[in-house]
């Protein structure tokens, strides 16, 4: 959790360098979309205290489920502008399937189970981003 920007590539390299014996590193970066030029800025609110617990719990669930060498979650809050990086996750495993699935799992849970809320400000005004039904549906595949 941080308000400050982060360097995706540098974090990805440091994460990969910390691994030993892992054949696969998957990273994901979430970027503020400009909505075709309409977006002025995005504000990310979170729930201090609960956020840290939720991220830790999501990471622990991923480690319990897959054979991971390591995982990383970085998420910004505060004011962001188009093309800013919002967050990243990384997962390392011996095999690519585990690394991919773990990174997708981290993202799916982060999206709908970590206490973050986005508000977009365009020329037309400011609106809270609505949760998408497909993000909720995405969790189902992990509950089978």
């Amino acid at each position: 959790m941080q308000e400050a920007p982060f360097d995706f590539g540098a974090e990805a390299n440091e994460f990969a360098a910390r691994q030993t014996g892992m054949g696969a590193v998957v990273t994901f970066a979430g970027i503020v979309r400009d909505l075709g030029g309409a977006l002025d800025h995005m504000q990310i609110e979170h729930y201090p205290g609960m956020t840290e617990k939720a991220l830790r719990s999501i990471a622990e669930d991923a480690h319990a489920r897959w054979d991971l060498g390591g995982s990383l979650i970085i998420h910004r809050h505060g004011n962001l502008r188009p093309d800013d990086m919002i967050m990243m996750v990384a997962a390392a495993s011996r095999h690519r399937k585990d690394a991919f699935e773990a990174a997708m799992f981290l993202m799916d849970y982060l999206k709908s189970r970590a206490p973050f809320w986005k508000k977009e400000t365009t020329k037309g005004g400011a609106d809270w981003v609505a949760a998408r039904a497909e993000d909720e549906d995405a969790l189902e595949i992990w509950q089978r």
Binding site: G30, E45, Y47, G49, M50, K53, H75, I86, M87, M107, L110, K111, S112, R113, A114, P115, F116, W117, K118, K119, W128, V129, A130, A131, E136
Partner: protein, 81 residues
Amino acid sequence: MDVLYFAWVRERIGLPRETVEAGAATVRDLVAQLSAREERYQAAFADITALRVAVDQELADFDTPLIGAREVAFFPPMTGG
């Protein structure tokens, strides 16, 4: 007990947190108690299917008992990532 509000729930009620005297047995009872107070609470809690709740910083549901709870938070579905 601390009650916290986030995102449009916070905006609709007009404050981020307040202390509420214990007494509600469940989250649903607390919602009824708050809704009875003022129009803005009633507006925020009008459709609880649009809301999520955390009790002591863990996701919970509206039937979760509040015995011993120190912190309850209301917010819309999360939109992280």
